[in-house]
Symmetry: C2
Amino acid sequence: MYAGLREELFEFLRIPSVSAKSEHDADTRRAAEWVLAALRRSGFTTSLIETPGHPVVLGEWRGAGPSAPTVLVYGHYDVQPPEPLHLWSSPPFEPELRDGRIYARGAADNKGQLFVHLKVLEGLLSGGGRLPVNVVVLAEGEEEISSPHLLPVVTEWKDRLAADALIISDSSMFAPGLPSILLSLRGLVYFELRVTGTGRDVHSGIYGGAVPNAATALARMLATLHDDGGRVALPGFYDSVVEWEDEVLDRLRALPFDDAALLAETGASSLVGEDGYTSLERLWLRPTCDVSGLTSGYQGEGAKTVIPALATAKVSFRLVPDQDPVEVGRQFRAHIRAVTPPGVRVEVIDLQGGRPWRANPGGPFFEAARRALGAVFGVEPVLTGEGASIPIVADLAQVLGAEAVLVGLALPGANMHAPDEWFPEEHIRKGIETFTRFYEEIPQGPPPRVGPSPG
Amino acid sequence: MYAGLREELFEFLRIPSVSAKSEHDADTRRAAEWVLAALRRSGFTTSLIETPGHPVVLGEWRGAGPSAPTVLVYGHYDVQPPEPLHLWSSPPFEPELRDGRIYARGAADNKGQLFVHLKVLEGLLSGGGRLPVNVVVLAEGEEEISSPHLLPVVTEWKDRLAADALIISDSSMFAPGLPSILLSLRGLVYFELRVTGTGRDVHSGIYGGAVPNAATALARMLATLHDDGGRVALPGFYDSVVEWEDEVLDRLRALPFDDAALLAETGASSLVGEDGYTSLERLWLRPTCDVSGLTSGYQGEGAKTVIPALATAKVSFRLVPDQDPVEVGRQFRAHIRAVTPPGVRVEVIDLQGGRPWRANPGGPFFEAARRALGAVFGVEPVLTGEGASIPIVADLAQVLGAEAVLVGLALPGANMHAPDEWFPEEHIRKGIETFTRFYEEIPQGPPPRVGPSPG
């Protein structure tokens, strides 16, 4: 890696653009301006879109003309808080190269990966270069605080942002030397269930046996959420789960995945889940239901002989394509109504939701990324899923009408959101080569059709 | 009520013998000495038995001779803490007579009722009076802190304390004007259930679907504790539950009990419980299982997407004659082992236990009490149960080899353990008349056989 290139990235990484902390508001804006300046130098028309929070950076290169496809590159210039500081081997905002790794807050998430895209576009477009596709760069400063203002901006600017492809590099490769393209993200619906029995906590001796017990009732309701085979038992829950093509499943099953490593990572003594699926399928392609919290009655040491008036649970579902959070919410409420035991009242509170997302394997941009990764890394990229949820991806793809392609360049164990975050120095160069090649691999001509075929 | 009698009781009530508070240790001892002096005045041989806590008062009158039956009267001279003080209409240790009620901490629980017995015995024995039965009075000072030292004392002194009848007045009548004799007390076993899945809380997106969820597992286990008819589902749980005689059940069912009042008292919107039984049977004669607390994972506001490593529940069973807490503990552990879902480890911790107790309707002392109450109150006493547990009753009855007879003289709503505790002044007189009559009603002659008949 050229020393000049590295020094340029280090300059970006030195800006402590911690979006969560108002004392860093000026730094966060400085990072936005850094991106803006880089885009201008490459020949982009730029806008700094103000929001009630941190600004959105917009860069547009429309040189391919209105009939050519448009690629939108999304990234973010904000970073997680660096705390706890004492666990860092070098200061989080003083980037350092050690053993081929660039250590800094934001090195992987997302400045290093956004930097790759900026350098690709600089290489291709600066000094009057041209591309057969139009390119829009959208960089937000609130990704680490759940993007509260991105969707309103995107919706307002949606004519300007309309794109055929949405390219995001904000995740990791499957393994060192093994590049990957994301197949899907799980969605989420999260509820609080509040069960009320008696009007106040009452004595379990004096009243036990004749009055409803909220904690017992809650447990009985939660026990109906799965069947004995580990499947979620809401009627209709699996109706819109997509069946992946055999080729996709075969490739997934061929991945070198180690259940023992999963046990070690989580400290579980054995793995469990939906019958008939491998761990990777359970984590990536299958929906789940998990109880994240229980609260009721006496929680201190020893015994208190009480019947709790109230029992609550945090219950969430991870959704897979094409489940709809609103529809699953309806199924959950209907199921809860059906299994509510006599004597208790139940309230279901919506806490969070986001749609699942799936890639379009075989699509022109997906295939362009696949070919580019294969050429640069010398190995066919693997297809991976992601069990966690990034609701903005599905939302952006939908509003923009774009095919999203997610190609992460960090490596497993990159310590995103943790001390000693790092990014492999070599992946700066390989990333630049990959995405330069990506633009070459996009089929020429008018934009390919996106979305379901008619009829 | 004679003014002198009232003043004497007020003197006893003025002593703040709060056993739970070490700053009242001297007061508590003063109350013990007050009882001791009263017994001595009546002609009792007295002992103050020291314990690591508050002393036990022992009074013995053996004038009926070794072949006559022995009646042991149990009571306690300690009281509950009076707090919160601001909710008292008059100071807790300045007894006051208002509208026929004596207000003071301990008026009902238990000084007022113990006083009744002391005055009965004074009336019958002082100045050389005689009885056809021997009488032992046992008054402890740690009832309100779970009697930690009583059973060791009783066991050590059991030859001196051996009795044919154990008489306790420490509860309430069923209703004003309607005296009652206790038929049974429920026992208790109380456990903490600790379910461990993963080694630490893990992300529900990244790991959800492939690792065990401790909270879900706990809920599924708790849901197996009852069947759909509200019966406890431990195998063998009902095997040693006694079937009460039809006459007892008929009398219980004839009691004027109001489900609407139970709803109002507990704030429940409807009553539930074991199919086929009335509320009173469910509360008094049937065993139960209740969950008293649930703790797991995230309990704060909003959503946290976590799979909890640990989930705990407080689970207790109220037992009825002749269930055995140790045997039910075995059944619970065996059941939990049988229903533990794959992937989790379960620990069952014993927290508390006590045996149920039942009276001996038709027994000589039970019948003597019944006749005495009927004569004094002018109405046949009702038989009642008690859903709560007083483990010391079963233990005392067993160690002493005695038939226990529990006759409470307080009234419902007496605010035992609460501010404005009270005892009806009229029941001092009626109580003295009742128990004076009781001694007359005991059949003459050698002690009746106690316990199951041979063969």
